[in-house]
């Protein structure tokens, strides 16, 4: 059997050879977690893109598992939804799985978390049963800017800059607008690891738009007005104006 078949001869333009590389880059961020309660950021997306499930953001062997399937005595995750004015909670059970639990919080008992997801720029709280020096957050990297948090006048807010640099971040490097002079921030000190209060400066040696730490004798410093890498903070709006922040 024979067949006549015509084929083309390849005359093509030059082409620079290159290896094939995965579209996605994954990242790991180490976050200090030696405090009993730490606000952590959401710097990554889920594998394949999109919001990451709460139960997938924090997975590391350094966490403390609970003693039973319900996660009794294990580390806890808390997600605060200001639009609902409530917390969702998860505990790490004896199998190393985050399970939904009702946990006492400053706003009453939390609702057991289920499949809630986190967008880059969201914030999460982790409560440690036995603190270890650090935890790891990992997921898929996205180069586009995360959505800035929406703040409400006269309310508490959980804010966590989704930086992937691994470096501490100065509050004064962020862009703040409509901040009331009496607004304040609670964060974990980059120096001592203790919870400290950050306020707007009062002393005239700085512009009236700086975040500062004021010590017992009224000395103000901007050095401690920084967020530890991977962490977040509580922002308390006290006035009638609606503040905004971008990173």
């Amino acid at each position: 059997m024979k067949a006549f078949t015509f084929f083309s001869v390849a005359f093509a333009a030059g082409f620079a050879m290159a290896a094939v590389t995965s579209d996605a880059t994954f990242g790991v961020l180490k976050v200090d977690s030696d405090a009993a309660e730490t606000v952590i950021c959401v710097p990554w997306e889920a594998a394949g893109g999109g919001n990451v499930a709460v139960v997938d953001l924090v997975k590391t062997t350094d966490l403390t598992k609970g003693s039973d399937e319900a996660g009794t005595g294990g580390d806890v995750l808390l997600l605060y939804r200001p639009s609902e004015s409530k917390y969702y909670g998860w505990a790490l059970n004896n199998a190393g799985t985050w399970v939904g639990v009702a946990i006492v919080t400053g706003k009453g008992t939390s609702t057991a978390g289920t499949t809630q997801t986190l967008a880059r720029g969201d914030a999460l709280i982790i409560r440690r049963s036995n603190t270890s020096p650090s935890i790891y957050l990992y997921g898929q990297y996205n180069a586009t800017a995360a959505t800035a948090p929406t703040l409400t006048a006269g309310a508490w807010h959980l804010i966590a800059p989704p930086s992937t640099s691994g470096a501490d971040l100065s509050l004064n490097s962020m862009t703040w607008n409509n901040v009331d002079g009496n607004d304040y921030i609670y964060l974990q000190s980059t120096s001592t690891g203790n919870r400290i209060k950050i306020t707007r400066n009062k002393n005239g040696d700085k512009p009236n738009s700086m975040w500062v730490y004021r010590n017992w004798n009224g000395t103000e410093t901007t050095d401690l007005a920084s967020v530890k890498a991977g962490q977040g903070f509580w922002y308390v709006s006290t006035g009638a104006t609606t503040p905004t922040v971008s990173f």
Binding site: A10, G27, T61, Y141
Partner: protein
């Protein structure tokens, strides 16, 4: 140009085809004995692509790009077609190619090259509208070659060596080439456990890592083709991706 493909060796058919040869054309007939195999030792899949490449006197085959341009300046890709028979003794069947004598080479040689165009589904690449494979990952000379000649209607027959295994000489990435996908990522005990899909047989995949985006370096950690998984230390690196080459 006319090309005639035979499904079996047949002197009679060859003679009949010669009757159609134009006196101004040169006929080049080539085939491989087989089995022609990829670098992983598996026989060429059905309809894998072969190329007939001209080599300048003294030159060696230097590989081809995905656009089927010869890598070496002293090579020239003359013909490409999806010819492999498939099966245990996969080979390039007997092919007769008539070429205008004005375009035929008068020195050097023609060599039969097997391409590796397998996708993640294990099949050879489909053809573009202009008759080229959509993607080429690797290429290798089958050692079947014949001296080039401009002599009129004479026939040059390329015979193969005893075994024409193809060994990867060049790998390429290109538009249309499948990219590896990271499908799962986890930190366990200070190590990153990465799962990868979308790997093609002709490439080797390794982890790229580093502390700064845009400055990732290729590590020696290779993704297992069988499990699709690789484990790398995560202590120093912060960013990870997968590179196939």
């Amino acid at each position: 140009m006319k090309l005639t493909k035979f499904c079996a060796f047949s002197t009679a058919i060859l003679a009949a085809s010669l009757a159609f040869a134009d006196a101004a054309n040169v006929c080049i007939t080539f085939h491989t004995k087989g089995p022609d195999c990829y670098a992983d030792g598996t026989p060429a899949v059905e309809k894998e692509w072969y190329a007939l490449v001209w080599l300048a006197p003294g030159a060696e085959f230097g590989g081809v790009t995905t656009q089927l341009e010869a890598v070496s300046a002293d090579n020239e890709v003359m013909l490409v077609a999806p010819l492999a028979t498939g099966g245990e003794n996969s080979c390039c069947p007997l092919v007769m190619w008539q070429i205008d004598s004005a375009k035929a080479k008068e020195e050097g040689s023609y060599t039969v090259v097997m391409l590796d165009t397998r996708g993640s589904d294990g099949k050879a690449a489909a053809s573009t509208s202009d008759g080229k494979p959509k993607v080429v990952y690797a290429s290798a000379s089958t050692e079947a070659s014949v001296a080039a000649t401009k002599k009129g209607s004479s026939v040059a027959v390329a015979t193969s060596s005893e075994t024409t295994g193809a060994t990867v000489t060049k790998s390429t990435g290109s538009v249309g080439a499948e990219k590896p996908q990271i499908t799962a990522f986890e930190i366990v005990g200070g190590n990153a456990v990465i799962e990868v899909s979308g790997m093609v047989p002709g490439l080797t995949y390794k982890v790229m890592s580093g502390s700064e985006l845009g400055k990732l370096k290729t590590s020696e950690f290779e993704v297992s083709k069988s499990s699709g998984q690789v484990i790398v230390p995560a202590d120093e690196a912060k960013f990870f991706s997968i590179k196939g080459e």
